[in-house]
């Protein structure tokens, strides 16, 4: 089943807070179904960018458009996955209950919910853990649960804020592939924030590098690597290594 797809547009977006310029002159477009990785040093405003797109904050200048329409408040079309998954899940509800929250918010009739929840949990590899509380799940599973909840919204756009930053390397790799698989199935548009260079290259169709103080776009790189990606072969691909070198140098220059 293919979901409604959307195009994103940032036009000369700026954000000022308390007299300081956080983001400046942000302009780029994202095509339907594109996977864009956002990378940059700490404090470059990448999280803020996501929050602007999610409608949690309003820009001081410029326009943000989703499918041609301006973004003013949170929309069901856009789902946001936080890095601190522990704090974004309801500790008093089971995995089922947490996914159900999104469905309840959408007004899905109670009769339809169990089936949809079960499908989402299966999709994110949580089939046997439906009745567990977040405190009984590992970090990786909690993050999957958050992803499952975001998917329950049937979002056209998936925003992910360093979702795997707090997880160990092996779990991270497993989840990277899982996200790619899910996104490919649904054809969703993804904006993925990370500080991990390799992750940005592995996942994205395009990498946008942000410079800090104030946050602005430094580079945009196309990633013409073949899909589906593979943890072993893609990372050994000569093009991957070339892009990696380019990206690494670009980031070093920024820090200098």
């Amino acid at each position: 089943m293919s979901l409604p797809q959307a195009a994103l547009e940032f036009e000369a977006v700026a954000l000022e807070l308390g007299g300081r310029a956080i983001l400046q002159d942000i302009g780029f477009t994202v095509a339907r179904g594109e996977f864009v990785s956002l990378i940059g040093a700490s404090g470059c405003g990448k999280t803020t960018l996501l929050r602007l797109l999610a409608g949690l904050i309003a820009p001081s200048g410029g326009k943000i458009r989703l499918d041609g329409r301006p973004v003013t408040t949170p929309s069901r079309q856009v789902a946001l996955v936080f890095q601190d998954y522990g704090r974004a899940l309801l500790p008093w509800r089971t995995a089922t209950g947490n996914v159900s929250l999104a469905l309840e918010a959408m007004g899905v009739p109670p009769a339809e919910r169990p089936q949809r929840i079960a499908a989402l949990l299966a999709k994110t590899g949580l089939a046997g853990h439906a009745d567990k509380y977040p405190s009984q799940l590992s970090g990786g599973m909690q993050q999957r649960l958050q992803i499952a909840r975001s998917l329950a919204q049937d979002p056209a756009v998936l925003l992910m804020d360093e979702p795997f930053g707090a997880l160990d390397a092996m779990t991270r790799q497993a989840l990277q592939d899982e996200v790619l698989r899910i996104v490919a199935e649904r054809g969703a548009t993804v904006l993925f924030v990370t500080h991990d260079l390799d992750e940005a290259l592995y996942l994205g169709d395009r990498v946008i590098v942000l410079d800090a103080n104030p946050g602005r776009i430094a580079r945009m790189l196309e990633i013409p690597l073949p899909r589906p990606r593979n943890q072993l072969t893609t990372r050994e691909n000569s093009e991957f290594l070339r892009l990696r070198r380019e990206l690494f140098t670009a980031m070093q220059e920024m820090l200098a």
């Binding site: 856009v78 946001l80 936080f82 974004a88 500790p91 929250l101 405190s135 009984q136």
Partner: protein, 254 residues
């Protein structure tokens, strides 16, 4: 074996008291050995007078606690929802709160006369303030990330209150209730000692006035037992309700 270590000290103290008393010459109007106190305890338990007094005290306690904590809860939620209201009212709260509830007993007596009314009124006043402050902080300390999730999912005000705010604040509200209940017992017994001729506090004073120290100690122990038992029961309830959540700090065993 470890659990018994805490119990050694009271047992030793009681034994010493018993021996000390036996060694004294003659009976006393003001003190009694533990053996006589235990006997007195059993006797007043048996003839129902202790239970009757307990019922009176607990009756006032429950009514006053319900009034005070519900009002405090409501006010706390209202304050937590409006920054302006909070800033307007904080000084008034800080000025009214320190008035010792016991100082209100004469006034309460004036208005309601002897009986349940005056005691309930004072207990309600006393429990209102901690309930207000604790419920205000309970609602104010809700994980902000969860409130953002509510915004992202576009939950309505009622949905947010019912699905996020109340469950998130519930453990702290429960703790607030437990602390208020402890306070309510103290205020109830105090009211009965100072002015209200009913309940366990009154039993204590009567025992003292009629020079029956063993009875006095028996009632005193009973009061302590009620207080401890109530706290332990509520703690159990808290743990049972919220332990699975992993977001609760059950270490506040005040």
């Amino acid at each position: 074996m470890r659990a018994w270590r805490g119990g050694i000290v009271p047992v030793v103290l009681l034994a010493l008291a018993e021996i000390g008393f036996r060694l004294r010459a003659g009976p006393s109007d003001s003190l009694a050995p533990p053996s006589r106190a235990i006997a007195a305890l059993l006797s007043i338990l048996g003839d129902g007078s202790l239970l009757f007094g307990s019922a009176q005290t607990l009756g006032s306690l429950l009514a006053g606690l319900a009034l005070g904590s519900l009002a405090g809860l409501g006010a706390g939620i209202v304050l937590a929802s409006s920054e302006l209201l909070r800033r307007l009212s904080f000084l008034s709260i800080e000025m009214l709160r320190p008035i010792p509830s016991v100082a209100l007993l004469p006034l309460s007596l004036l208005i309601f006369g002897f009986g349940y009314g005056m005691e309930i009124a004072v207990i309600a006043f006393a429990t209102f303030w901690p309930s207000l402050i604790l419920s205000h902080s309970a609602v104010g300390q809700i994980e902000p990330r969860l409130m953002e999730v509510a915004r992202l999912l576009r939950l309505s005000r009622w949905q947010t209150a019912a699905k996020i705010i109340l469950p998130a604040a519930a453990p702290r509200l429960m703790t607030a209730l437990r602390l208020a209940a402890g306070l309510a017992l103290v205020v109830a017994v105090t009211a009965e000692i100072v002015s209200n001729p009913q309940g366990l506090g009154h039993d204590l004073m009567i025992a003292q006035e009629t020079l029956r120290p063993e009875r006095m100690f028996a009632v005193l122990f009973w009061v302590g037992l009620i207080g401890w038992g109530k706290n332990a029961a509520l703690l159990r309830l808290e743990r049972w309700l919220f332990a699975h959540r992993g977001d609760v700090d059950t270490s506040i065993a005040a």
